[in-house]
Assembly symmetry: C2
Homo-oligomer: 233 residues x 2
């Protein structure tokens, strides 16, 4: 809000404001990102982060959730969504001045069958560590989103946002390894997770081909703690 040059917003030409949403999911135990292929100039044929204009009567987060729903079919207020950064260099879009507020979302892949929802734009999942060239400044946004995701994983129990309701410790470690893109020591990982006191044992096991593995879930109050640690508000 300007305190000096008072008021009259109409004196100023206004930029367009969009939200872009980096949608992460674990698919086949790999960290992937949902991208859409551009049909028109500029950057025709290139892949881009899904996004759209902010409507006058919706908050930024509402706009981001709307984009997420349009792209994935998932309309659930519990989906994890966090604001990343706002980019607004003049010239980042050659058509007009566009300021975009970037978000990232974490979705459980089980919920995703719905997909090809709202429109005809080609959409596809890409491995987060092997992305195609991206339109606009979207490579910057993605690099930043992945940095933030890795970073938050180290001090919050964010991973459960990408996992189904119950999971084995091996599956959890696998998720961490794919997100962080590094191998972790099994014993240390388990000890640390247990010490963090965010898991609760279920009475079930997953029977595979071999020795069954115990199933865990995230403690509901640990989920609450993660929400409380969200950076803003």
């Amino acid at each position: 809000m300007s305190e000096e040059h008072e008021y009259d917003a109409s004196r100023y030409e206004r930029p367009s404001v969009t939200v872009d949403v980096v949608i992460f999911s674990l698919r086949g135990s790999e960290l992937q990102v949902l991208l859409v292929q551009r049909k028109h100039w500029p950057y025709q044929g290139m892949w881009a982060i899904p996004g759209g204009f902010v409507h006058m009567d919706e908050s930024l987060e509402t706009a981001a959730r709307r984009e997420l729903a349009e792209e994935t079919g998932i309309d659930d207020p519990n989906i994890y969504l966090e604001q990343l950064y706002t980019l607004g260099d003049p010239g980042r879009d050659p058509r007009t001045r566009v300021i975009t507020v970037a978000y990232f979302a974490l979705v459980v892949s089980d919920l995703l069958h719905l997909q090809a929802s709202s429109d005809a734009a080609a959409a596809g999942w890409w491995p987060a560590y092997h992305l195609p060239p991206l339109a606009f400044d979207h490579a910057d946004i993605l690099q930043y989103a992945m940095r933030r995701l890795r970073y938050k994983l180290e001090y919050t129990a964010l991973a459960f946002q990408l996992l189904p309701e119950t999971f084995t410790l091996t599956e959890l470690q696998d998720a961490y390894e794919h997100i962080l893109n590094e191998r972790l020591d099994k014993r240390n990982f388990r000890r640390k997770m247990m010490a963090a006191d965010v898991l609760s044992e279920t009475s079930f096991v997953r029977g595979g081909d071999h020795r069954p593995a115990r199933l865990y879930r995230f403690r509901p109050d640990a989920v609450a703690e993660v929400k409380a640690r969200r950076l803003f508000p």
Copy 2:
């Protein structure tokens, strides 16, 4: 950028976009914030974070630096400035839809004599831990700015942005204590600073009333490291 509802930004009514800049300084060894007093409705007479509209031909950061310069008289690309968060709830400003990109800046108080620059709005420094009621959602912004400042202070050498070129270890510790709002152990603080390897001893001492204290400066490459660690880009 919307990939789906293509293009024509003119189909959408556009919000106003502003930048607000939380300006921190250490004055009299206290952490203070520069606020301006509103002259008009809404929130007339209340204090607010300085800010203004983003022009069509300037980047967000350029707009923030322009606001900083208008408010403090300091026009220096080395002033530390970091994007905080973007707020855009409909109704946060009763006049019209306004989306604001919040920044925070760290300035050395020695450079600040210039002040009462661009315009007639009453401006004043307030103790960061004893703020008046604030207009709009500015209390949220300030709370978040202080959290981020405290937080970054713990993993970067950000404090030098608030201190003069050379300083004693006691002055440095004093700065940390006022920003973090807690007492620190002198021996542990010094050991930690030395281990962090960000200071270089000068050959000078500050002669006070008593035993003189050695003067230090931040190592130029430590300054570079802090810049490299900035979250974006």
